[in-house]
Amino acid sequence: MGVHMSAADHGDVADPWLGTGSTAAPSDLQLVDGSRVGVIGGGPAGSLFTVFLLEMAERVGLSLDVTIHEARDFTRPGPAGCNHCGGIISETLVQSLAAEGILLPPTVVQRGIDSYTLHTDRDRVRIETPLQEKRIAAVFRGSGPRGLSEPKWESFDNHLLGLATERGAHLVRKRVEGLDWADDGRTRFRFGKEESEPFDLTVLAVGVNGTALKLLGDLGIEYRLPGTTKTHICEIPMEQESVDEHLGTSMHVFLLNIPRLEFAALIPKGEHVTLCLLGDDIDDALVQRFLACPEVQRCLPDGTGDFKRLCHCSPRLNIRAGLMPFADRVVMIGDCGVTRLYKDGIGAAQRTAKAAAATAVLHGISAEDFRRHMWPVCRAINGDNRLGRMVFRLTGLLQRFGFTRRAIVRMAASEQRRAGSRRRMSLALWDMFTGSAPYREVLLRTLHPLFGLRLMWDMAVCAVPRRRARS
């Protein structure tokens, strides 16, 4: 079978579809009773795709044969059983999953989060969820950090994988090492010397932390890898009472003037705190510098400086979409396709997984079907990321000066004190840190004239004492 399409960089371009080599018209290729669907990767994207596909198929009376291929054992503590991430399940995702009938039980959720605490070098402010309800979930993607003898909570990824197999999917605990076209245009998966029966639809949900996207080369599909950057995660062990006391049910976010650091957070879990640093190629020196900050140390027990003895990792983060995420009979979902910039990656995986599943069941599996029915979701995410870059540039600028950092906290704090006031800064910060709303909304909030006036006033107030001190 020849080349179905070519993939090109579409990180920041309008529509990538022009010039692709799809051979099939919409709905020429359909899933029918008994069609075989092969999913590569059992992370959130792969498992949720499978759940949605099987539920949707049942609604239209279609019987599908779905197999997920995942080599990782999520019940094993340590890096081998973990898809390295901060483990925050956003407010929007918790709600969307609940609407789909997927509840996250306390055996998976280590801590319900009801607020964000923003720290700067001098002040801090706590911003509560709009309804003072625990609407954000803190989880472990695997069973827990290296060295944990008895995991007390179930892995989030394992929970979703379980939902997929409960609905009838098969699980093959093998790494897919190669792909081949069968004579009839379907694909076979290779595992060493073994080869699978052909699949009618191949779903790549392999993330960006492996080399699996190169599998596309086996099919003659030209590809360009998504743009990624190195991040840092570290699991700090603490007694549950100590987590309650130091961090409580709040996610702690730090607005500090450290070059190359875009986002820094301490996320309270059951008996650990997850340190999550995102930015431009985070290295050891930057981690040390962050941990040495007094405002960070205040949130942690003594002696947490040496992260190297703790379970830590440097996963890659998708910061620029690199592929057109579909071809005839092939679709890419989750991180390996299109995801949100810096925020709510699992939420984005759910959105692309759902769009791909709905397209495959309700429309067809040709590239044209995915372009018409799935691409709008990817395009919306990509378009919003462009605005996200602006928001992060703006925040980066405000982060540079002490008086602007203090002004942000001052404005949010005065809003929190005054019941019934329009909480423009609090909501903008909330939406930005939680990923609860599109970046477009965050930007719109900050463009309101009253937002600008109030922030300028607070900046002026915060600048005055410094001038006095100098004179």
Binding site: A98, A99, E100, R111, K134, A137, G270, A355
Partner: protein, 125 residues
């Protein structure tokens, strides 16, 4: 309340929504049971008992009207709120998100029809 429990905890008998009050969100039961009560001339009639993963208050998402019934916790219950704005934004992108709600509403209409038939035939005899 366990650290990992999402939503808000209600005690036995605590009111979650009140009939005739304005509402702009729906609710999903995370744990426990709730009872749905219709009030007429000061008297309460139990309309339904809902369990884990059931939802209520969904009418407020689609119409700007007051709550049509009172909902109370039946024993300790934990309930998650789904805001109208977030939910409608997600439905706009993914209309199939509403399938479950439509399915549930259609089940409720079916049950109501059966109830109407039962009451009318009783009235005729």
């Amino acid at each position: 309340m366990a650290n990992g429990a999402l939503g808000r905890e209600y005690q036995d008998g605590e009111t979650i929504v009140r009939q005739r009050e304005a509402g702009d969100c729906m609710f999903v039961i995370q744990e426990g049971q709730v009872e749905v009560l219709g009030e007429r001339e000061g008297e309460e009639v139990r309309l339904a008992v809902l369990d884990k993963s059931d939802f209520f208050g969904e009418m407020a998402l689609f119409e700007r009207d007051v709550r049509s019934a009172t909902v109370r916790a039946l024993g300790p219950a934990r309930v998650l709120t789904l805001d109208r704005r977030t939910f409608l934004r997600r439905i706009q992108e993914d209309p199939s998100l509403a399938f479950r709600i439509l399915e549930k509403m259609s089940n409720r209409i079916r049950e109501l029809n059966a109830e109407v038939v039962r009451l009318r035939s009783r009235a005729q005899t």
